[in-house]
């Protein structure tokens, strides 16, 4: 096989792996959108916040240390312990549930029946708040996240492809783990929403708030539940992204990429989020590979958005979204 083609395949495969991560963030969006009709811009920051919290717990950081030091003139930094990864993950998950309760209680409850665009802007405000909160709690420096996931080149794939084509593909172990985790998450969420009692209630709420209320489903409980799940998904996404490129603010921007993924896949479709993520991930890597060098590179910054924009003009409901029939 010609080298150029091999490089392209490698880029495409890596794109697929990145796409899995996009899909993971997009999944959080879809869950919240389905259950509450809220387009949660803060999902990316949620992932950042989760990852920051996880690292903070792991390293035994004292929350709000900077703030306390500034106010009281103390010199606090760390508790001095180091938690095992699994304990820290459970604790961070707990924080995300707590956050879901707080968000429901102080924000969502007061915004019921508002126009979707108002809710959307409220989540932008939430994103700012959480970003500030995360930085104040744990500090804004770039942190290394290591929960013991395998990292680095996958030797097996490298050697197999080298023997077959004379060129070893570079595939990161972390990406493979991420794909497996994402697949497991999607399957378990699908099972949950299709077969469990809460899942059925969740779908009922998604369909019609008032009808769901009238048959005795607690809207507030469902919202806390779904934001908790979204928080958990954000935690998983935060672990994957954080292990890959460190925990820092840009993590929430990478998560913004989930938006075009959603536009492509349709806001209400879990399979759509997955397929959209894969298309975007692979598309931007291949575009950068083939077209990037001709026009100055760094096309990953906008490719996803422009692709989604062009796509939407021709199919406004996305790949898997339901066709919109307008009524008066």
């Amino acid at each position: 096989m010609p080298d150029q083609l091999l490089y392209a395949i490698e880029a495409g495969l890596n794109g697929l792996m990145a796409g899995v991560l996009y899909a993971l963030v997009a999944l959080g969006f879809v869950l919240i959108f389905k259950a509450s009709g809220i387009f949660n811009y803060a999902q990316g920051v949620l992932a950042l916040f989760a990852a920051l919290t996880l690292v903070g717990f792991q390293n035994g950081q004292i929350p709000f240390a900077h703030l306390l030091n500034a106010i009281f003139g103390t010199d606090l930094h760390e508790f001095g312990w180091h938690l095992p990864a699994i304990v820290a993950i459970v604790l961070a998950g707990g924080v995300m549930v707590l956050l879901a309760i707080v968000i429901e209680r102080y924000v969502l409850k007061h915004l019921v029946n508002q126009a979707p665009i108002i809710l959307f802007m409220a989540t932008i405000g939430m994103a700012y708040f959480l970003e500030g909160l995360g930085d104040i709690m744990w500090g804004a420096d770039i942190k290394k996240l290591d929960v013991g996931l395998p990292q680095g080149i996958n030797e097996t794939i490298d050697s197999v492809t080298y023997n077959a084509f004379g060129y070893g593909f570079f595939i990161d172990n972390l990406d493979i783990v991420a794909s497996v985790v994402a697949a497991a998450l999607v399957i378990s969420l699908t099972i949950f929403s299709q077969y469990s009692k809460q899942g059925r209630a969740l779908r009922a709420v998604a369909d019609d708030h008032q009808a769901a209320l009238s048959v005795g489903i607690s809207l507030r409980f469902i919202w806390v539940l779904v934001w908790s799940i979204a928080g958990f998904v954000a935690l998983v996404a935060g672990i994957m992204w954080g292990s890959k490129s460190g925990v820092q603010f840009s993590l929430s921007l990478i998560a913004l990429k989930a938006l075009p993924v959603l536009m492509l896949g349709g806001f209400t479709s879990i399979p759509g989020a997955i397929v959209g993520g894969l298309i975007i991930g692979m598309g931007e890597k291949l575009f950068e590979f083939f077209v990037g060098p001709m026009i100055g590179g760094a096309t990953e910054n906008w490719f996803a958005y422009v692709l989604a924009l062009l796509f939407l003009v021709f199919r406004p409901q996305g790949l898997f979204g339901e066709k919109i029939i307008e009524r008066v």
């Binding site: 500034a70 007061h110 959307f120 405000g125 500030g132 003009v313």
Partner: protein, 358 residues
């Protein structure tokens, strides 16, 4: 007691539809203009011009522009930063290509160029709505910033990749470049803002404004009563982008002097302007001013208090600011979706009756 509308009768429909129907409001408005044009230019210094007044005037123009699109026509845009960049780079190219032409013409032409780009990115609004459109405007934001970063023609192949404004004068007074006085910057921006605000008020109170609001409130019904959604939405995009382009041009040429696109016109700028109109008041001219003033003053205030008085680190103060801004957005959306403009209206209602509560 002081604030009365009783006895202020209107005898014609034209009188009834004027901007400040209450005499007291009208007088206060004239007083504000007199101070802004007659007093401030003579007392302003560099600190106040650069920290407060000039950014306020420029952001007010941008906020007016976004408010036309989002507040009046209901099309949420997250591409404001990108469109400001278009204005800035258009102004830069014009300034350097035609040095003999007046800077005022350049600024207005920059607005025109931005209007064309805005219409181009506004075209999808005919097919996609709501937050789908909001996300689509992110495409404009990221693409435009990338474009100005990667294509050297836009920054005249300068080694730093930056653009910097050469000195240009109006009536012998420098308004751009290093030698500009504080009052020249201030007056130049003030005059443009004043003219644009007046135009915006006229547009929003007449037929065009009603078409925009009809599309905002119920687009399907609007179309059935005879509003052409194509021309209406695109006119909102064009006019809004014109304002934002002018703001971008001034931001670069008058305020910054030199700019790097990612830093000056990144996505944070889009959000900043959006926050201004949410806090100030969606669909309100006054709200655009109030929001711009608020978002300019808040960081100055916080910096003075937290860093200056309490001696906190600047990054900590910046994070506190993020939290406050975010919380304020949520609070305003919950408690008063019409922003400070509505609070102002309520205060006036109360004043009208004061000191007799009933």
């Amino acid at each position: 007691m002081f604030y009365r509308e009783a006895g202020d009768f209107k005898t014609s429909y034209a009188d009834d539809s004027q901007t400040f129907p209450i005499r007291f409001d009208r007088l206060r408005y004239y007083a504000v203009i007199a101070v802004a044009f007659g007093i401030v230019p003579f007392v302003i210094n560099d600190y106040w011009a650069n920290a407060v007044f000039v950014p306020f005037l420029i952001y007010a123009i941008a906020a007016l522009g976004l408010n036309i699109l989002t507040g009046y026509c209901g099309q949420v845009s997250l591409g404001t930063g990108g469109f400001m960049a278009v204005g800035a780079y258009a102004c830069y190219k014009l300034m350097t290509a035609f040095p003999e032409v007046s800077i005022l013409i350049h600024v207005l032409l920059a607005g025109g160029v931005t209007a064309v780009v805005g219409v181009l990115f506004g075209l999808p609004s005919l097919r996609i709505k709501g937050f789908y459109l909001a996300v689509a405007t992110l495409a404009a934001q990221f693409f435009l910033v990338w474009l100005f970063n990667k294509v050297p023609w836009f920054y005249n192949y300068s080694a730093s990749g930056q653009i910097s404004a050469p000195e240009r004068t109006i009536l012998g007074q420098a308004v751009t470049g290093a030698n500009t006085t504080a009052s020249a910057k201030y007056l130049f921006c003030l005059i443009i803002l004043f003219a644009l605000a007046w135009l915006a008020r006229n547009l929003t109170r007449g037929t065009v404004g009603r078409k925009w609001m009809a599309i905002r409130d119920m687009d399907i019904a609007a179309e059935i009563i005879g509003v052409n959604p194509l021309t209406t939405k695109l006119s909102a995009f064009a006019i809004s982008s014109f304002y934002i382009g002018v703001a971008g041009a001034l931001f670069f040429a008058v305020y910054l002097g030199a700019a790097e696109v990612g830093e000056a016109f990144g996505i944070q700028k889009s959000f900043l302007i959006l926050f201004m109109i949410i806090i100030g008041g969606l669909g309100s001219i006054f709200g655009s001013f109030a929001g711009a003033a608020f978002m300019v003053l808040l960081p100055v205030l916080l910096k003075n208090v937290l860093v200056g008085q309490l001696g906190w680190a600047t990054d900590l103060a910046a994070h506190v600011e993020l939290m406050i801004v975010g919380a304020l957005i949520v609070i305003f959306l919950i408690a008063e979706p019409h922003g400070m403009a509505q609070l102002w209206r309520l205060a006036k209602e109360k004043l009208r009756l004061w000191p007799f509560p009933h």
